[in-house]
């Protein structure tokens, strides 16, 4: 009996989070990604990357332009942000997913944003 109740709870939880994610339009998700990229206490991506809309960007990383062309595969882009050490073990880019700097949801928004560049 308690198992059933528990399963029901999990199902409702899952259902509500799916609903919440679907609540945002692509534009809103891009905007959320941008906020996180600009926030010094979150992505702080612009400290290293030039990108459209970046204020006082740094220059330690390559400019983020034409990203859909360079990363047609969304998962590959997400992997690059989540753990850039996979591609370059000596990278100076922080491992945003592996070190829990951004949550998985935030990484998704970040990918939406970067893909829009």
């Amino acid at each position: 009996m308690p198992t059933l109740k528990f399963m029901f709870a999990v199902l409702t939880l899952l259902g509500s989070s799916i609903a919440a994610a679907a609540d945002f339009t692509l534009e809103e998700r891009i905007a959320k990604g941008y906020e996180l990229a600009a926030d010094r206490n979150a992505g702080n991506c612009f400290s290293c990357h030039m990108a459209e809309g970046a204020e006082q960007p740094g220059n330690s990383g390559p400019p983020l332009i034409m990203m859909q062309l360079r990363y047609p595969d969304r998962d590959q882009l997400k992997a690059q942000i989540a753990d850039p050490r996979m591609r370059n073990p000596n990278t100076n880019m922080p491992p945003y997913g592996a070190h829990h700097i951004l949550t998985d949801q935030e990484l998704e928004w970040m990918v939406d944003f970067v893909h829009s560049l």
Binding site: F46, S47, Q56, G58, S60, P94, H99, H100
Partner: protein, 273 residues
């Protein structure tokens, strides 16, 4: 025969031991020569201002006139000249001239540890029955500011005299290259690999010359503060654990970093943003 082998072994061993820090330093210096071919090595004592024209102009304006570390130097001189309760004074520990900063940090074989200038000041007080100064205390900052000022122009002359000293040096070196914190940066990520780059609008200074000008007035601190306070801030920035002022970790780190700057002229105190 057996003797000859042992002797040969011993010589190669000790050779490699003594060559270590000097080889490291040569590689370190060459790295920056290659990265900044148009910048004279000695220029790096000016940190980010050696690499950024615009910022240098603002800085030179701040340095001229009445630089904000001047009071600390004057107050430090007065403290230096005061006698302890037992009649002795700092010159009984440090010699007649306060121009000694180039030798610090030094390896103290008796105590088995790296002694920074600040620690030496406290050791002097202790051996004369005075109470120890807190490392954040204005008196400590002022005393070290005075010694730094008097030592201006002296080339850094750090020595690694024996095996135990070498171990401390190696600890400091390992710390320097160790990635740490949530953001996964080593000191070397920012001050070697990315030196000269901009992080936002901040120009990253070269590690070479990092130790030549302390204590330093920082606008951000609104006061003169020690090198280890800057270490703490750089650790904090990458969300890594910061150590205490004068902790063994930071003293060893200062030892390594100072050795890397051997030969560069002292130019403290100074000002930074």
């Amino acid at each position: 025969m057996k003797h000859a082998v042992t002797l040969a072994l011993f010589t190669t061993l000790s050779l490699s031991v003594w060559a270590g820090p000097e080889e490291d330093r040569t590689a370190f210096v060459q790295f920056f020569e290659k990265r900044f071919p148009s910048i004279a090595l000695e220029e790096h004592v000016n940190g980010a201002y050696a690499l950024d024209e615009d910022k240098r102009k603002q800085w030179e304006a701040l340095e001229s006139g009445f630089p904000p570390y001047e009071d600390a130097v004057f107050d430090g001189e007065a403290l230096w000249d005061e006698s302890f309760a037992n009649g002795a004074s700092y010159s009984d520990c440090f010699g007649d001239s306060p121009a000694v900063k180039q030798h610090y940090p030094l390896w103290d074989a008796e105590r088995g540890g790296v002694v920074t200038l600040e620690l030496a000041i406290n050791n002097c007080r202790e051996s004369n029955g005075e109470k120890l100064l807190d490392y954040t205390d204005y008196a400590m900052v002022a005393l070290s500011a005075y010694v730094a000022f008097e030592s201006r122009g002296e080339p850094i002359a750090i020595e690694v005299p024996d095996q135990a000293a070498l171990a401390a040096y190696e600890e400091g070196k390992a710390f320097y290259y160790q990635r740490r914190g949530q953001l996964n940066f080593a000191c070397s990520s920012c001050h070697l690999e990315m030196a000269g780059n901009k992080l936002r609008s901040e120009r990253l200074s070269a590690a070479l010359g990092h130790v030549t000008h302390w204590p330093t007035y920082r606008s951000k601190w609104d006061e003169v503060g020690p090198l280890h306070k800057r270490f703490m801030e750089c650790n904090d920035q990458v969300k890594a654990k910061a150590f205490e002022l004068q902790s063994e970790e930071y003293r060893n780190l200062e030892y390594f970093l100072s050795y890397m700057s051997n030969g560069l002229p002292l130019n403290g105190p100074t000002t930074r943003k």
